[in-house]
Symmetry: C2
């Protein structure tokens, strides 16, 4: 295996999903750490917290009250980053008229100060009524309702022109939300977990932001996925990638019938993983009921193994990439369902990796190899949740 | 001004230097913050710390001793992310031979598991012999030697084929480092300041990583700069941008004869700024002695204003983008010297902005507008360093 040498030398790896490179410096973990220490989150929280704006029955910041919900509960974010209606803004047209910054041929400010309005809707989705649980504490059966709700919300926002909108959803739920007023382009389902990842409330929850525009990351992935499909007889980049990883067996963390969990070859974060559907699935609505459960199991495995790694409630940001709500046939057919987990911890519950100076100014850089990370998550972190034994 | 409305509505702004968009949600700062609090760094450090591996005369982690330096001091990083020599690695050729992952036409693993070796050299550069100072504490005259040293180190690494290598440097210094053994492509000068930005030692210092490859961020900027130059009669994108900002006067923080300090139209970090040379300068070696001092003054102004903003030692990552060490004529001529500052604090010395779930999975998102940030840095933060009055 020519790659064995990559354990010892500095090298760059290519991320075919983003079309970008990152720097890997495997020998670098030897350096002593005298920097910031994370504060691990408390693991003894009450099951119900009267001051939590997400607990059932409680009042939220802008006055609404939560119902006494027992299943996952969704509501429109009280502090949404995008809204359904706002004042009109029409970007000035390029070359429209002579201004101060007219250079004789073009108006420089319309060229260099470009803006475009965005509308949409943001949701908060609690994973459980219990304040003191996390996805790592839940069984696949208990995560299943979250998957079903994600599926349902995604389906509700699909453009009528999107072929995915015709697919009947297993187990439709009655949602306390209305269809969007205007057609949206993208839905970003994500979770920030832990104070280290900017989460301000430990109550288990994720967010969903939908927008009229296609954001940068999915836009880049869509370009790469379409390019690969075109150049490789209509095959899916991620289905091919699953095939390679299943043959190599070096970066696999867990798998079941429908999903592979790997530390990707191009992982940036120390213990980054991806959940990928083994077969080509464009989006949540493509899953059978069994696949929904398999996906819930994959999420349970990732989050429990994470917590077991450093025996702490492991912080991360996670997010689902799938077909756009509205898009060309090419975009929709090239999409391949996957979920990213970006966790910051590197060496222990208190020592994280900082993606800072070099990473921001030049290129992402990692210290341990994805193979080393996968081995630990695969071999040392299975079994029951460490907290169960305390 | 049609842009005034952008103070109130969610919109995307275009970053012409990276060719990417970001989301601006100005109304969002109203949300209450219950999340992580940063620990402001102590401001009472000793002038000399016997345990600091950067103080003059002290022993470093791998046994070397620092001289009793009085000016900025540079040495090769004891834990370099890239090294000058390492085991050879030749990436397997695509299509080379049939393997397990052969799909009949190509070997999928050579297509999807791509790596390339990187070599180079990493330096640490102290800004002052005094353990308890930061750039914000230094006068432009005291920062000047740092600028001179950056210039000298950059010049030492230039490819003989690079026309910039012919430029005589004002005030050459005798450096304790040797020329690189192989030709390098890129030099990244950067600083991580403060524990919040992964800095593990408060002794004022920055880093310089040089590599055989061109990293992602400068590669993207170079593409955009060349494109602009081609489409606009050989003009510089950043020279045009300076022109627009000087006419608009909305995002300027500070300026002198040679440099403009702005919160860029496309700023991602709450109080992000850029120092840009007003005229087209390709790199540090293009500066006159007066311009070196003007640049030192711009750095002093940024760092002092930052500290004054929340009356704390303001964390940030900063980095210089300039011409590559080796490159095509087009690349070198399109380069326009600038320095980025990415500071995480948002509301106070303890409340930062987290670029996490949505930002990592979808697109960078900011809360206050760059115009609001610039106004505060321009109008409220000049004057003496707040610590001077304590
Ligand atoms: O080299 P240092 O200061 O030990 O390390 C710091 O800067 C590096 C370059 O940005 C990062 O990779 C590290 O995560 C960070 O802690
Ligand atoms: O929406 P929240 O949870 O208040 O805020 C968190 O997630 C957002 C989306 O990733 C980020 O923009 C915020 O910086 C972060 O603190």
């Amino acid at each position: 295996m020519p790659e064995a040498i990559l354990d010892d030398i500095s090298h760059r790896r290519y991320n075919p999903l983003r079309g970008s490179w990152l720097l890997v410096s495997p020998h670098r973990t030897k350096r002593p750490w005298q920097g910031a220490q994370e504060t691990p989150s408390k693991i003894t929280l009450p099951e119900y917290d009267p001051a939590c704006y997400l607990c059932p029955g409680n009042k939220r910041a802008q006055g609404d009250s939560n119902p006494k919900y027992v299943e996952p509960f969704v509501f429109v974010n009280d502090y949404s980053a995008v809204k359904e209606s706002q004042a009109e803004y029409t970007p000035p047209e390029q070359n429209a008229q002579e201004t101060d910054s007219w250079d004789g041929k073009i108006d420089l400010s319309s060229l260099l100060l470009r803006a475009t309005p965005v509308t949409g809707r943001c949701y908060v989705l609690t994973f459980s009524p219990h304040h003191n649980l996390t996805l790592a504490d839940l069984t696949p059966q208990q995560i299943l309702p979250v998957v079903q709700m994600w599926t349902q919300i995604y389906s509700l926002h699909l453009s009528p022109s999107n072929p995915l909108s015709k697919i009947p959803i297993p187990t439709p739920l009655s949602l306390p939300i209305t269809p969007p007023k205007e057609q949206l382009r993208w839905m970003q389902i994500f979770e920030n977990k832990g104070a280290a990842m900017g989460c301000s409330n430990p109550h288990p929850h994720g967010q969903i932001w939908t927008t009229t525009g296609l954001p940068e990351e999915p836009a880049e992935e869509l370009i790469q996925l379409q390019k690969y499909r075109k150049e490789n007889n209509g095959r899916s980049l991620l289905a091919d990638y699953v095939k390679v990883e299943m043959q190599k067996e070096e970066r696999i963390v867990f798998q079941n019938n429908a999903f592979l969990v790997v530390c990707p070859w191009w992982a940036t974060w120390p213990f980054e993983v991806m959940i990928i559907s083994k077969e080509h699935r464009r989006a949540l609505v493509d899953f059978t009921e069994q696949e929904q459960l398999d996906f819930a199991e994959a999420v349970a495995e990732v989050t429990r193994r994470y917590d077991n790694l450093f025996e702490t409630s492991f912080p991360y940001s996670s997010g689902i990439h799938q077909a756009p709500l509205e898009g060309t046939e090419e975009e929709i057919e090239s999409s391949h369902f996957h979920m990213h987990f970006y966790p910051p911890l590197l060496r222990s519950a208190t020592v994280r990796k900082f993606l800072v100076g070099y990473e921001l100014m030049a290129e992402p850089q990692r210290d341990i190899t994805p193979e080393q990370a996968a081995k630990r998550l695969r071999e040392d972190c299975g079994g029951v949740l460490y907290r169960k034994n305390l």
